[in-house]
């Protein structure tokens, strides 16, 4: 984009820096940094350049195909889509899945969270944290990691593999295991051999999660004070699921929204009611919508979702090791609300620990081997909503069907979307702090990207993020003429 056209009404900015594509995230995005006359940063905008159209092309398809189709929107967190979609289908057929089916769905979700969190922390984010934000970009990637910290890299691969193995053993395939799920439950039970295999692998994964967390606390947590202060450090609302005790929950529970002071402003167990609280605004410069908290309005009703938000809204984790860590984590904020986006990394590691502990709890329960895993039913309701906590936050699938069960309307609110207002606030804050436009340096722009990485957005199913991708930064004058360009 060499000639810049601004669609917004405000034309006061003078120059623009473009980061395109943003690297080491899942999907394609671009960041525009708009500058004032005096070259200070006025605003930064996060633009999603993908357009997928799932909501339109699924019209006319049978409801029970939705888990398979919608899970294709992402190769990192297909399980979350499968579950949110299956829950919406459960609502359409109007049945409660058998207890074992719910346990298996939970178990596969734990595997999903572990592998996704491991991917973000080890493969995508740790190069910044280990080498530093200003280090040589040729090394600051997963290959540099393998070269300089081989043991650490292997641990990341092993942890991710454990998560993937849970998915494979339970549902048959590592990615897109949608054949296994069905409205009203799942298609096949878990065999004893597979459960025993996972139980045997579990202690190793737990050890990696524990050691990574303690390494993070010792080496990383206190080395980035400036980043903690400026990486999307602002008050907002937080949204996430909690269970009936108010504890951390990822599969099914009450939707809780908390304000910056730690007061619960919404808590609803009826999924259909989410529309009363969540509105969606549109901006002309991006394909991604801007969900906001309706009671406050747009854009002040900015809320965040994902690991940080989940730990903020939950009272406890509910598993012993994760609870200890959570208590320590909550001390970083006021009234149990931790505000800086940098702490998403910390929250992600605590959740990983929680997921492995929960997987153990589920596998230790003999009922997980029961063969009663499906409730059968036909279409009974013409509308269904499924809400689950994807690795990146609250994921909502909302379908309407006709009498034959064909989709006539469909709305998917993807976890990444909820954070959209927060992304823009966060990158603006980082850009204002670090960008000195007269002398562009790679490390400054990397910080702008890194704050996005902390959120771990998932913009499509792609993971082509190995640090060698082109990063074009362009500087334009007020007439749209290219003044300066840097590529890596």
């Amino acid at each position: 984009m060499d000639n810049y056209e601004d669609n917004s009404s405000n034309k006061l900015f003078e120059r623009k820096i473009v980061i395109n594509p943003v690297t080491r995230i899942e999907g394609h995005a671009q960041i525009d940094i708009l500058l004032n006359q005096d070259s200070t940063v006025r605003e930064a905008r996060f633009k999603v350049t993908d357009f997928r159209g799932f909501e339109k092309f699924t019209e006319g398809r049978p409801y029970y195909e939705m888990p398979a189709i919608t899970s294709r929107s992402c190769g990192i967190c297909p399980v979350s889509h499968i579950l949110a979609s299956a829950k919406a289908c459960d609502a359409i057929v109007g049945v409660t899945p058998p207890k074992t089916a719910v346990m298996l769905r939970r178990l596969i979700h734990m595997g999903q969270l572990v592998q996704s969190h491991a991917l973000n922390f080890f493969h995508l984010s740790s190069p910044d944290l280990l080498f530093g934000f200003d280090s040589d970009p040729a090394k600051r990637n997963v290959f540099g990691l393998i070269e300089n910290h081989p043991d650490f890299a292997v641990q990341g691969v092993k942890l991710r593999r454990f998560g993937q193995e849970i998915i494979e053993k339970v549902a048959g395939k590592r990615v897109h295991s949608s054949e296994w799920i069905q409205p009203g439950g799942v298609k096949w039970p878990l065999t004893r051999e597979r459960a025993d295999y996972l139980k045997a692998e579990l202690p190793k994964a737990l050890e990696i999660a524990k050691s990574t967390l303690s390494m993070f606390k010792q080496q990383m947590l206190n080395s980035f004070n400036d980043e903690v202060e400026n990486f999307g450090n602002f008050p907002s609302y937080y949204m996430g699921l909690v269970n009936s005790d108010g504890n951390l929950e990822h599969y099914d529970g009450k939707l809780r929204i908390m304000n910056k002071d730690g007061n619960i402003v919404v808590e609803c167990s009826d999924a259909l009611k989410y529309q009363e609280y969540v509105g969606e605004a549109v901006e002309p410069y991006t394909f991604m919508k801007f969900p906001y908290f309706k009671k406050v309005g747009y854009p002040d009703g900015a809320y965040r979702v994902g690991p940080l938000a989940r730990l903020n809204v939950a009272s406890h984790c509910g598993t012993p090791l994760a609870d200890e860590e959570m208590a320590e984590f909550k001390k970083l904020g006021r009234n149990g609300i931790v505000q800086s986006t940098f702490y998403y990394h910390y929250a992600r590691l605590i959740e990983t620990l929680f997921c492995i502990e929960t997987a153990k709890k589920l596998l230790d329960d003999p009922e997980i081997l029961s063969e009663n895993v499906t409730s059968r039913a036909m279409v009974n309701n013409y509308e269904g909503i499924g809400i689950a906590e994807a690795p990146r936050g609250t994921l909502i699938h909302h379908y309407k069907v006709d009498a034959q069960g064909m989709i006539i309307w469909n709305d998917m609110i993807i976890a990444t979307e909820h954070n959209n207002i927060a992304y823009n606030k966060a990158i603006t804050q980082v850009a204002k702090r670090y960008i000195k436009a007269q002398q562009l340096q790679e490390g400054m722009l990397n910080r702008v990207e890194a704050v996005i990485r902390a959120f771990d957005p998932c913009l499509s199913c792609a993971t082509h993020a190995v640090g060698q991708m082109a990063l074009d930064i362009k500087l334009f004058d007020a007439n749209g003429t290219l003044l300066d360009q840097q590529s890596r």
Binding site: Y64, H176, E179
Partner: protein, 236 residues
């Protein structure tokens, strides 16, 4: 048909002996030579629709569908020449280009004969322009569903319904690319008064066009059902 008299022919250079009246396809299969096909199914009347089993016969410039051509004494048949391979690849592409064949989200994924043949023949992309359709799915039956967008018109369902179940609920309407499998006099499936709900159409469908709602495809597909029932009827 003069039964019990044996004839001898050569398939891919191999001398084989079969009963007179046997089709080339069956003669090859009985001797361990597999000719690709999508419409043929043991127990059903051969139809010659998919054109995948075309073979070369020495002395004739024409190609012959192996499923409907009887083996003759002294015949020399080639089943796997470069020309046939390229024709078969094109036939698969033609099938893939017409209507909607999206394996990733299809109920029959990994259990689909069209997909398996495409893999076997090395068809990894379609060079032809795709002609997507948006036919409504008929899910009005209690458990049988037909998604005509996935139908390749092999007519296994029509033939199994007629010959094996004996009710002839299924038939065709329209011509050419608009051809569609219908129930009775183009009723919705749920309103069909002749359908017995025997599920054989779902069992033999080579793709994901007819399936049973809520059932894993591995449970549904029993493509040897026609062969089995025919053998039982003949007391074999």
């Amino acid at each position: 048909m003069a039964e019990n008299s044996m004839i001898t022919l050569k398939i891919d250079g191999v001398q084989v002996s079969v009963l007179e009246g046997t089709t080339i396809l069956k003669a090859a299969k009985d001797n361990g030579i597999l000719i690709p096909t999508l419409c043929d199914l043991e127990g059903l009347t051969p139809y010659g629709g998919c054109r995948l089993c075309l073979v070369e016969v020495t002395g004739s410039p024409k190609l012959f569908p192996a499923c409907t051509t009887p083996a003759n004494s002294g015949m020399e048949v080639t089943t796997n020449s470069e020309r046939l391979k390229s024709y078969r690849k094109m036939t698969i592409q033609l099938l893939m280009a017409e209507r909607v064949h999206m394996c990733a989200v299809c109920v029959a994924n990994d259990h689909c004969e069209l997909q398996a043949l495409a893999n076997q023949l090395g068809v990894n992309h379609v060079v032809l322009e795709r002609h997507f359709t948006r036919e409504p799915i008929d899910s009005s039956h209690d458990f049988l569903v037909i998604d005509r967008n996935r139908c390749i018109l092999c007519l296994r369902c029509v033939r199994v319904c007629d010959k094996i179940e004996g009710v002839h609920t299924l038939d065709l309407k329209n011509r050419s690319k608009d051809t569609e499998v219908i129930m009775d006099l183009d009723e919705s499936w749920g309103n069909s008064c002749s359908c017995t709900g025997c599920r054989k159409c779902a069992k033999v469908c080579p793709v994901g066009a007819i399936y049973i709602e809520g059932e894993a495809i591995t449970q549904t597909k029993h493509r040897d059902v026609a062969e089995f029932i025919t053998a039982r009827r003949n007391n074999r």
